[in-house]
Symmetry: C2
Subunit: 354 residues, 2 copies
DNA sequence: CTGAAAGCGCTAACAG
DNA sequence: CTGTTAGCGCTTTCAG
């Protein structure tokens, strides 16, 4: 392989001009074979191509982006890549982005609303074709106003804000929304638990101000009302969406002597922690306590017993986010899409011989 | 919030020139307050700042990158984001990149060597400060030559190729290597299994041509030799690193009547599949068969019984990759770092009453 | 079909 | 301290 062909390349990479010189043509011609979209004499083209190869030339994406105004990039903003929930959406986003000839920028916010704002700003600088923000939104006026502002700013710059897993920002705000039926899933799951005879269902993981949490609890409460089962507000436990919280909270619950015969965890990770705590305390699942999660991540199959949970079409959400945002001109009416969720029953709630 | 201030902003975002005009200064002055690194009169600066706010100005990262030659970006290349192994390294990379003021581009290759090559090329176009390729390498001459070529090309452009989880490319190739003791981990684990009395250990997941796999098997075989335990080559099963493979292969193994008293899975995901198969077949773990994994992903705690596995310092690998690559001038001698691995014993191998 | 010239938005000398 | 002048690498009219 030929490094150092022609001019002694010390540190600089070659440019169209270098290629042009070597091929004995003008820079424009080189650009034209690069673009491929313009007629160039066969013989000329192959001379240029050869020069490129010899100089090991690659275009400068920035120079290109400066002329046209797109970077052929989509930005992906999540709390934390290690959460399987996000990871699977990320896969969908990445796949669809690749299919649409886009690169994918990854940014994490660690659940900090200010970081979300900062990151969206950075993506504006990068001139990303779309900025995809994943996860529940904060029910806070200031936060929402900022996001609305960004939505407009991105729109003006020809880009697009995409919200995955949370609702729209209000009438007329230029946003693509890809959501799933959060409340419906929680409602269905709670119904499943109650109708199999459970009467004291704990909800593990109320995150105040987080839309995801609020909606799930709404479904949870609504199911109780619907079935006429009285519901003790003390059974809704504040916390965050983590394995550690599930573990700690469950231990505390048991230690405090709170009576309960089912545990509906805010996420599968929370459920995994809860299962460990129950096992350690010798509480049988599902005989003594039924356990359910939310998300249907692969781990749900690996815990013991296998976890009953609410399926969310992660990858599909990610793919749709990219697809809708990039083709918003063609499908202006479908810029708010809501995917369905459904209960997947496994062993952690199967038993009901009481 | 003021959209549409001053000139009717139809679709274009504002530039330094717009800001300059509005603040009654020159473009350079605007640039100077942007950079912050150059003296500007207090009064002028605040006028500029106000103009920026009013026009909702953001710099164009591409224009900026065109002048200087760095995009303040690191690229992160993995097989598949959904693998927890990659996800945790990704977290390390992302965190360290953010700490160093860099953005992170994510690319996936789905285990296809050609995609790896294509992606590295794209990152070259993007002028990323570092291109971090994660995962085992292909022991293929053509592939290695290409990577070597890219290493040189990136180096010439002032960037850096970083290999995480695989060895270097050869003497004098400009590469940063962040590896972990793959063979040592496998050796230690095999020793653990053999010395607790297991005699027919299956190795689940030999991926021909993949460096990771080759090294682990080397450790596996070496432990047998070291302890003088004869080893049946038929117990090394070809496959890929996936949960599905672990499940299928284990079922087949049982169906074929192959005798074995331990299962060393190529990864924790493979082990998770194996555990499910064993459970379905009524094989007791660890009484009848001990099971071990590799990676120590969080799922290892959630499977039942909790999985004995080899710990790999994922996040640390990711952080080191970014740190070493960006500061290679300062630490030229530590461009090949190897992290240790260690066995974590849990319930899946604990029992040894035979 | 090909070349010359202008300019994308910003930064960096170089003069004031 | 601030304005003027180039120019980063590429695309894109506009003329040949």
């Amino acid at each position: 392989m030929d490094k150092n062909t022609g001019t002694a390349s010390n540190h600089e990479s070659s440019t169209v001009r270098d290629v042009a010189a070597r091929a004995g043509v003008s820079a424009s011609t080189v650009s034209r074979v690069l673009g491929g979209t313009y007629p160039v004499a066969k013989e000329t083209r192959s001379r240029v191509l050869r020069a490129m190869r010899e100089l090991d030339y690659v275009v400068n994406a920035h120079a290109r982006a400066l002329g046209g105004s797109t970077n052929k990039t989509v930005a992906f903003v999540v709390d934390d890549v290690t959460g399987p929930f996000y990871a699977y959406i990320a896969r969908g986003v990445e796949e669809q982005a690749a299919a649409e000839g886009r690169l994918c920028m990854l940014c994490t916010t660690h659940g900090d609303p200010r970081r979300v704002l900062a990151v969206v700003e950075t993506m504006r600088e990068q001139r990303a074709d779309a900025v995809i923000v994943v996860g529940g939104g904060w029910e806070d006026k200031g936060y929402q106003d900022q996001m609305t502002h960004f939505a407009h700013a991105l729109d003006r710059a020809g880009s697009r804000l995409v919200l995955v897993g949370r609702g729209p920002l209000g009438k007329g705000v230029p946003v693509t929304v890809v959501d799933y039926d959060n409340e419906g899933g929680a409602f269905a799951m709670t119904t499943h638990l109650l109708s199999s005879g459970r009467r004291q269902v704990v909800y593990l993981g109320k995150v105040p101000g987080l839309s995801t949490s609020t909606q799930r609890i709404r479904g949870f409460v609504r199911a109780h009302e619907m079935l006429g089962v009285p519901h003790d507000p003390a059974l809704i436990v504040d916390g965050v969406f983590s394995r550690g919280f599930g573990y700690q909270a469950t231990r505390k619950l048991i230690a405090s002597g709170t009576g309960f015969d089912a545990l509906f965890a805010g996420t599968d990770m929370v459920a995994a922690g809860a299962l460990q705590a129950l096992r350690e305390e010798g509480v049988r699942v599902p005989e003594d306590v039924a356990v359910a999660g939310y998300d249907d991540i692969p781990t749900a199959l690996d815990v013991f017993p296998a976890l009953t949970t609410v399926n969310v079409p992660h990858e599909e959400l990610g793919r749709a986010a990219v697809r809708l945002a990039l083709h918003r001109e063609e499908f202006p009416e479908s810029q708010h899409q809501v995917f369905g969720t459904h209960v997947v029953v496994r062993d952690s709630t199967r038993y009901s011989g009481r």
